[in-house]
Subunit: 469 residues, 3 copies
């Protein structure tokens, strides 16, 4: 049933939307002077002596890193579920490509509409901001991973991008004039986090345990997700510096983020080891909480916080993020009806709040005129503003027309993707079950599950087969 | 038998070829003035005031992205076959490293031979062009993936690079003076596409169905291929701008390609969903057709086409490319004796033609002196010119001395690579078959293959095991 | 038992260390003038006219590539073991993040301590050097992969970084004034190689064969490792040019490394094919020896060696490296009590020595004042200097308090990581063994293990299942 709606709606939405985009781009979007054939004139008018002064050369390497983070970092991080890797990376691809077009328009209308001819001039900085805007929606996707249909995701992205642009406008231009949120702790991460959690709360599924068998990782899907983590970790300094000020601003943002990330890795390993019996490490923590240092450094990345403060920020964010995975996520699922698949509350929402606080505190010590002074206010606004909007959006998403998967088919690629060998998979499952029952009841297990029992070793190749696929 | 020839010939060819390269490089190749110890003098002579004006800083970030595309993008995209991942990524590595050396020489001789001392001066732009030239050959590899030996691939690459340099010279310098094909829609993609298809047609294997069991993907090999796709997709703006003009040229090429790619993602999802029953998406389409927007934007990337036109190009290319996978590839295999393993006709050849057309049309509207006006002519030449050459090359490749795999061993890494646990694999296969027959005949299947049947849930770990390896 | 110590010690070490880092950073570390809010004043004082002259824009793209190599290149290369992928990529992550903070301090104290206020000013070049320093320790990790605990790795990294900074200071400043080792053939690779081999020799495990079943790769773990290889290979030109001189220096280092790497790919394939019966290629060789060209080009990367010499260096390094894997590693394990898990002797130590020799020879031909003349001396010093230090370190690491795995649990992620489905894994192993014995004794194998036997093809999906997971 779910699929049929998918089959009808998805192509229609994609086509209609893309045609609307073409029309709106034709009306509103032009090249920035730095990307226009009149660049040479522009150079003369502005006393620019060399092509290398084009903003392109200041920002393109950072932009590419951000682009990699959006499509590869988030995409691969979402492949961690054993049987939802296609959906994780594939829907991430779809909604990013969908969202960035709308983000170019929305951010253009709200932030850079040229009042002389009512057009939006796009250049390198617009592309980076569009990617940032999409990042907020991907964070929200993380909370709903495996439980929503691609069409719901597209609606979420459409509304998310719109809300994001409005909220950013309100915070940075009306409430808090002259404020800056270079790496988007507040605007991107706190926004995306609470957006996703609210949606997830409205779409609560009381019977989600019916697909519990699929809600976990396999050995290799964890390695895929780890690649995504590393993409995000390595390129985060670019994320926090991409729209920074030329010169020392970008330079300093990179140093601060680099240090904060390094510190959060150590505390994540520490807390992860502390939280498990026998001190074993958990891949979920390593895949997520190690990134909290980058999130928390976002707002203050460009500020002269001094290197050791960046380490302190990293330490705190790593601790609260891992702690969140250990304690808060299970608590929220049990008692607050929030099913947060990827734990975005721990990775984005909380470290984002921390980052906003850091930004506000450092700004209070710094010259007001430069850094602004209402971090707390803007943070609060960011949390409150959207709840009404979200409630109505959530009600719309609960309508039974979006083709979302049934409770027992959540986290399963079979619903939306052609996966090879369906019948064989069913048969193998059945065969496995039969054999499992036999082995389970007629075999004595070792007392301790810590170590694989000494396999009798008449032939090495046997052991190879166990994990060789 | 195949292997023996591989064992004798491959090392010999590698050594002889590499020694020949050393000799030719010693005679012909020198550093470009911008990479030479005389750079400081060169700066004074040319009134360059800063090291940052060195072409290195304009192009190195883009070059690195292109380099990633060649070795990681193409390489991982070719790992999609369930049992040919080593061959896909490994042979891609071999022929790229082999081809780029020859490309530096061929392109140097034809495009930038210094007539005063008969040497080739290599710099950043030469390395990028060598990578581009290799890309054409990798496209051709895609059509033959799994069906040829590494030695055949090296011969194909050698001849391909030579042909490419000559053809590029003829099109861009003789026929069509002053033309430019920044992102290589015509020169790289159309060339590589039809080169590979012709070779594949000549090497047609009527009994390829004997290795049908291996001609498909596995769940994780599809994720590996998706990583390759994302590398290509994310870095394609660099591909189309890497040899663009400094300043607004490179800037605009990035914007156009970024938009075109985003649009082709949406139409690919739409057509893929439309083409399957129940609207299920196909990984093959997502892995390939989403890239068509980059191919089609190649020629016109630097032109002032305006942002919405870039979206239109992306829309069209995504549609024709996905359509090609659904309709044309099966048709060509059945009726035209073209076995196109990776569907390069859909991803490179057709969008390349579209891109050439876009370039020609936009050039016709633009100032002739800047953009040229003979796009169509050059496109046609590109298609016709090489057929004679290709026919003779194909006949050579059909000689029975190249160690190509037998029909039942196509798409199998065992032929050229040491793969662990061969015996165990055979035994496991046999055991599996035995059990399969039992289960197949004595078990009633569910009517509908859409959903995994409700597995009895006395123990969760069981389900974990099914997909956990 | 091992785990318990891990559980107690690891968090303690991480926290104490990180707090110590914060204290030391607070005392010693400040921003470089180019990353400081006083940059604008600095520009005026130094007649710099544009922000684009900030060192950030010269080095950031290369830095990002180096960062990717450290965390993704090394990390994924270490996932090749079938059941130690978490440990490979995870511990690489931990010790890199741990080591780079200490490296910033040690290198600051020894190389760039500001004598006016006793502080270290960190900028882009410091971050690159910290990454380089960590690379040396990761090389050493490669020799011990799977046989040591994370705590031992942290001790190794701490001591390695300290030793590295001292040694670099002695070689480049005391013995060999004015010498330069741009890509670190001598300082990084030879250092890291012999450091790791010495540790591995001291920690020799006579009963390592007890975990032989896990000391091998699986099909997909080999593909993961290959991604790591490609990251390293593609970005190596950035590694060798990252701290090069602005302008032609960085430009030339990239060209030389690009050519050397390409040449070593061809000779690696050749020697790998020669060394196996039937000419089959080995993934171990392709994953490692193809990188030797980058290592060997390190010291001389910036020198005017001429392009063909770079090819010669690549050819030689590819040959000796592959030869090392085929002959030396087994010999060293059997007769010299050195268990070198990743073969770092072949990839780093030997090509590093070659690179040092190339640097010394070319420097002898070049102007002495520019390139120095005591390469050999410094190379020798690099080898001798640290043996005493290493011996005491090794004795410390042999103390029974570090929680290292027992001989039969080496190369097993279960010891330090939460791996899903432990019980099921045990049961599956047991079931597999039972069935294996049956099949092994009652089934006749084909004579030749070269090819998979013609599977009876009554149903294609069967074959899909074999490798589909």
């Amino acid at each position: 049933i779910a699929n049929n709606q998918n089959g009808e709606l998805l192509p229609a939405i994609c086509f209609i939307w893309q045609i609307a985009m073409i029309a709106l781009f034709a009306i509103f979007v032009r090249y920035d002077p730095e990307a226009d054939a009149h660049w040479t004139e522009y150079m003369h008018q502005n006393n620019i002596t060399s092509n290398i002064e084009n903003d392109f050369y200041y920002r393109y390497p950072s932009f590419q890193d951000v682009h990699v983070m959006i499509f590869m970092g988030f995409g691969l991080l979402f492949t961690f579920l054993k049987r939802y890797s296609f959906g994780g990376v594939g829907f991430n691809f779809l909604i990013s490509a969908f969202g960035l077009q709308w983000a170019l328009l929305m951010q253009g209308w709200f932030h850079s509409l040229d009042s002389t001819d009512w057009t939006i001039k796009i250049g390198m900085k617009s592309l980076i901001n569009a990617d940032f805007c999409v990042a907020g929606c991907l964070i929200a996707f993380g909370a709903c991973l495996g439980k929503v249909s691609p069409i719901q995701l597209m609606v979420m992205t459409l509304c998310g991008v719109s809300l994001f642009a409005v909220e950013e406008y309100v915070i940075l231009n009306l409430i808090h004039v002259g404020a800056k949120d270079t790496g988007g702790s507040m605007v991107i991460h706190t926004f995306g986090g609470y957006y996703g959690l609210t949606i997830s709360w409205i779409l609560y599924r009381p019977n989600l345990h019916q697909s519990k068998r699929l809600r976990g990782s396999s050995y290799h899907s964890d390695v895929f997700a780890m690649i995504g983590t590393l993409f995000l970790w390595v390129h985060w300094p670019s994320f926090n510096s991409a729209i920074g000020n030329h010169g020392d601003g970008q330079h300093r943002a990179v140093i601060n983020t680099y240090l904060s990330l390094a510190a959060s890795v150590l505390t994540t390993f520490a807390v992860s080891s502390l939280s498990a019996k026998r001190g074993k490490l958990s891949m979920v923590h390593i895949q997520n909480a190690t990134l909290a240092g980058g999130v928390a450094m976002g707002t203050a990345a460009e500020i002269m916080v001094s290197p050791y403060s960046a380490l302190v920020v990293g330490v705190c964010s790593g601790i609260i993020s891992t702690f969140g995975f250990v304690v808060l996520t299970p608590f929220m699922e049990k008692h607050m009806k929030i099913q947060d698949t990827c734990g975005i509350h721990n990775l984005h929402a909380m470290p984002g709040v921390l980052g906003g606080a850091v930004g506000a505190v450092t700004a209070a010590f710094a010259s007001t005129s430069v850094y602004g002074q209402e971090g707390w206010a803007s943070l609060l606004t960011s949390l409150i503003l959207k709840q009404g909007y979200l409630f109505s959006l959530g009600c719309i998403l609960r309508l039974p027309c979006w083709g979302d998967p049934e409770d027992e088919n959540c986290f399963d690629d079979e619903v939306y993707w052609e996966v090879t060998a369906t019948k064989v998979h069913i048969l193998a499952t059945r065969l496995y079950n039969t054999l499992f029952i036999y082995v389970f009841f007629f075999t004595k297990l070792p007392e301790d599950e810590e170590s694989v029992p000494p396999v009798n070793q008449y032939n090495d190749q046997k052991a190879d087969k166990q994990t060789d696929v």
